[in-house]
Symmetry: C2
């Protein structure tokens, strides 16, 4: 009777994609609880019933968006972690990438953290991604350099949050920081850009400049 997409007839990609894009915007801004089906339909400029016609429920639509966001969150990170470059370069690239990601998606980190906290089960399908992070080249590369004595002894479990917390925290608390230091939107971007370099300096300085045995 009513199936949106079948084998041959290519689905009216435009409508389905319009819904996805609208849902992405609305969910990222308001979260699952704060977003209503009508919000999304309005943002997409379509009838409410269509959201459930293409995706079967608000929950399913959300999962769809959420998993894409988790991938966006982790994929670029994993790619860099597996690059054949020095640890020093890798850390700088990771922070630079994090900055670009947050600049392009200022609410991504807060959204992911929040939704994972509110409903950890939804993360089930994303555990594979996180394992990719865990089992990337980064961890062994770090331990190798540690045992060589070229880098300060530290585990990846401690180093990784150090790398990502700085930029992400800036954007997680963007509204707060802007109010506290009376920054404009462009002022914040400049601030974050400067901060990025400080963070790279601090972390690499900490890791590589120390009293070697």
């Amino acid at each position: 009777m009513k199936k949106p997409m079948d084998c041959i007839s290519l689905p009216s990609k435009s409508t389905e994609e319009r819904i996805r894009e609208a849902a992405k915007r609305v969910f990222l801004e308001k979260g699952f609880d704060g977003a209503t089906s009508r919000d999304i339909a309005d943002a997409a400029g379509i009838n409410i019933a269509l959201t459930n016609y293409y995706f079967r429920s608000k929950e399913k639509l959300f999962i769809n968006i959420f998993e894409e966001m988790v991938q966006l969150f982790f994929n670029g990170m994993v790619d860099i972690m597996n690059k054949p470059i020095s640890l020093r370069e890798k850390i700088a690239e990771l922070i630079e990438h994090d900055f670009q990601l947050m600049k392009a998606n200022p609410t991504l980190s807060l959204f992911v953290m929040n939704e994972i906290h509110r409903n950890p089960e939804r993360m089930a399908n994303c555990i594979g991604l996180m394992k990719q992070v865990h089992h990337s080249m980064f961890e062994e590369q770090l331990q190798q350099e540690v045992s060589q004595g070229t880098v300060r002894p530290i585990s990846a479990m401690h180093l990784m949050p150090m790398i990502f917390c700085n930029i992400q925290f800036l954007f997680i608390g963007k509204t707060m920081h802007m109010k506290m230091w009376q920054m404009s939107d462009t002022g914040f971007d400049e601030f974050a850009d400067g901060h990025k370099q400080l963070v790279i300096d601090m972390i690499t300085n900490y890791l590589f400049e120390f009293e070697k045995v």
Copy 2:
């Protein structure tokens, strides 16, 4: 006719406080959008109508809790910033305090960040608190030491997020970190405790150990 508390008759503190405590738990866990009046009433073990009898609306009750949480978030921080101790001690104490605060209120940071982002106007009454942070002794103390050359040149605007991001990010992403590194709850606490010391080392090392002019 019906005013809960008047000048003389002390309000049945027990009920009002039960509601506040329940609301605190529920709001911190689910956020404003995710929490329902019935959730709170159930958690407090009272009739739904009582939440609006003591506080006039869900919004008013939330503001009440939210502002307390923002104070909890900033007050201890400001106290330490105004202490007459060295910058080095101050930074260590700030991080230590942040850790204790997060340990006692694991969802506080995520809650505050999230609600500020969702509805920045609610922060209106809290701007004074943030100004206290801005205009504490910390900022001039830092610049004084910078001009003395005893500390690496950096502004408070950059240093403060560096101090607070590490611990708070750990707790903001607690669920994620636990899943990623397969930690138990106590495992996480130990991890965070160890992390705290690394962060103190990294920041003080960065600030105080550098090529002095």
